[in-house]
């Protein structure tokens, strides 16, 4: 009986996840109301799907999804890698071009995912932020969090470490119910 129940649960979960998966896939190029709701309920920003980007950028810091900044930001960042937030992150010409193409094609202005559109909507005219944490949308979303949870938290240290608190950040999900601050626990406002 127990085995039967387990099997049934497994079958239900499999069926449900395959349904979700196929809906998400169709949702990508659909954009209709029903599908976009489905998609948004799952992910906030398109996950990183480029191995060169993961290797080159993600080996030093969290591989921020391209959909978290507009095209102009990525272009500016990629043309100033010699002084990349105080460090030198220069790339070979070929890799450089490959990554600019990837970042631009997936930048926030090209995406209709929730976080991307909201970040874009919060920018001032002509603003070209180099840090995601400089955008008004980001600030509004984090303004209730005390300094000791992030900057003065030895397990976090900086807002640039998305994955330190957002447990599914790497999958492109920044839902507040998934937040777990090291040494503090769950955070819900």
């Amino acid at each position: 009986m127990k085995t039967y129940r387990k099997l049934l649960t497994l079958a239900t979960v499999t069926a449900a996840s395959s349904l979700l998966f196929s809906a998400t896939v169709y949702g990508d190029d659909d954009g209709g109301w029903g599908m976009s709701w489905f998609k948004q309920s799952k992910l906030d920003v398109v996950p990183v799907n480029n191995q060169v980007y993961r290797d080159e950028c993600g080996s030093c810091h969290f591989a921020f999804q391209p959909g978290l900044l507009p095209e102009k930001s990525w272009r500016k960042m990629m043309s100033t890698l010699e002084d990349h937030f105080g460090d030198n992150a220069e790339l070979g010409a070929e890799t450089q071009k490959q990554l600019v193409d990837y970042l631009v094609a997936n930048s926030a202005d090209k995406s209709n995912y929730k976080r991307s559109t909201r970040i874009m909507g919060s920018l001032k005219q002509g603003e070209v932020p180099l840090r995601i944490s400089d955008t008004l949308y980001f600030k509004r979303k984090h303004d209730e969090i005390p300094l000791r949870y992030v900057k003065d938290n030895k397990d976090v240290g900086s807002y640039s470490k998305c994955e330190a608190c957002h447990t599914r950040a790497d999958a492109g999900s920044y839902n507040e119910h998934e937040v777990k601050i090291p040494g503090v626990g769950r955070w819900e406002d």
């Binding site: 460090d87 220069e90 070979g92």
Partner: protein, 133 residues
């Protein structure tokens, strides 16, 4: 069982040997030699490792050891970004010195950041011998 142990020992020996003679390092040393540099010296590399370089922007004083520590077997931390850096020595970190492209990429970045210019072929050869030691 005894045979197994012997095989294991042989395997370990093989791994240690290949770590001390990396094909990537050999290939690069040849490139540097062809460019007119050499002979290379681990001692010269070691001296340069702790040599301090002055800069106008923070941190004003930079050296290889400033981030990598002066012990190649130890993990380090970037003095500016606090990024954790795994140990440089291939004896404790087998991923080190295995890819020529990666070695050249980090030489370019770190020589410019630390020395304020790219390293010469001679300097890069000296560094490789020191790190590989």
């Amino acid at each position: 069982m005894k045979i197994f142990k012997t095989m294991l020992a042989a395997g370990v020996l093989l791994v240690t040997q290949s770590a001390s003679a990396s094909p990537a390092v050999d290939a690069l040393l040849k490139v540097y030699s062809d460019a007119g540099a050499g002979p290379f010296s681990a001692e010269a590399g070691e001296r340069m490792w702790t040599q301090k370089h002055n800069h106008n922007t923070s941190p004003a004083e930079r050296s290889c050891g400033g981030c990598h520590t002066s012990n190649l077997a130890d993990a380090g931390k970037h003095v500016k970004t606090s990024k954790l850096i795994e140990a440089m020595s291939p004896a404790v970190n087998t991923k080190r010195l295995t890819e020529t492209k990666k070695i050249e990429k980090w030489f370019m970045r770190n020589c410019k950041w630390t020395l304020g210019r790219e390293c010469t072929a001679q300097e890069k050869g000296d560094f490789l011998l020191y790190i590989q030691k």
